[in-house]
Symmetry: C2
Amino acid sequence: MGARIEFFFDFSSPYGYLASTQIDGFADKHGAHVDWRPYLMGAAYKQSGRSPMMDQNLIGQYSVHDVARFGRMQGTPIRMPEPFPVATVAACRLYYWLFDQDPGAAKDLAKKLYADYFVNGINIGSKENVLATAKKLGHDADAAAAALEMVRIKQIVREVTDGAIARGIFGSPFFMVDDEPFWGADRLWMIKRWIKSGGW
Amino acid sequence: MGARIEFFFDFSSPYGYLASTQIDGFADKHGAHVDWRPYLMGAAYKQSGRSPMMDQNLIGQYSVHDVARFGRMQGTPIRMPEPFPVATVAACRLYYWLFDQDPGAAKDLAKKLYADYFVNGINIGSKENVLATAKKLGHDADAAAAALEMVRIKQIVREVTDGAIARGIFGSPFFMVDDEPFWGADRLWMIKRWIKSGGW
């Protein structure tokens, strides 16, 4: 049986976006299964007491440079959006609402929201924009709008986020490979080795 | 002509130590030249406003796990020392004092200090311990002790550190590859690609 990769990410994370364009192909290549698990990284920031990398002097400048370079390396279009970062709670809720019905449709939404934000500069922090994207993908606009306010959906997003933090997850992307943690879009090489060798 | 890699590190950094055991072999393999540049990362922390990873909740626990795993992967013995971190100004001064006379001897000292701290648990924040290591390597103990107080040597350490920060360097290890910045022991794969392809 292949490895199980849980792919944790925040919709506002450029490295999460960069990883999202690679992870399915990577998993296919190495006989692994991937679950996409968007969560609210802001809650993890609060727990760890750190501030977003982009806000820190020196690290922020490096990250802007590195994100663009990483995109060029992968052949992934990316442009740092404004405003940045944005709240991703609406995006998350819509993801898990769809996930309940059809995981494939949820993943399609996730890919589209990432492209909206990091390619087209659409503010996915806005409910209206997230709903417009869901509609474009053929989902019922009224049902989607109602989903954003559903107690059950809010609860799922909270549980996924709290559950992630309880397992020590804090970044984006953050991969749990059969429960072994790997932080960063730049760790796929290590996950590959880990899967191939069965750990060390 | 091969690439020039400037290898910036702090003597108190576990990831710097992990990289130090790889970088020369890596450079040889890819026809690059390496300069070892210890500096005082604490000064960069002040500039960026961040705190050491090990001190942060969630990130700290991950780092402890990751450092041990990274060591096993590489076959590099490593044990998190106590106290941690330590001030590395004496180690840096001695390094640059030797560097002036013989860069090879300076590198030997650096390797020994890293092993002292991360393998043998010797507190390299202590002047006495750093001087004892210099003596073991055959250097004159009185001259070494005097070097720690030399204005010129203090000045070099300050200039290397300020110069690094002015170039946007903040972490350990931090590689400048023909002036292109790469942060982290986990980025050698990317430096390899960069050197091979001439950048992107």
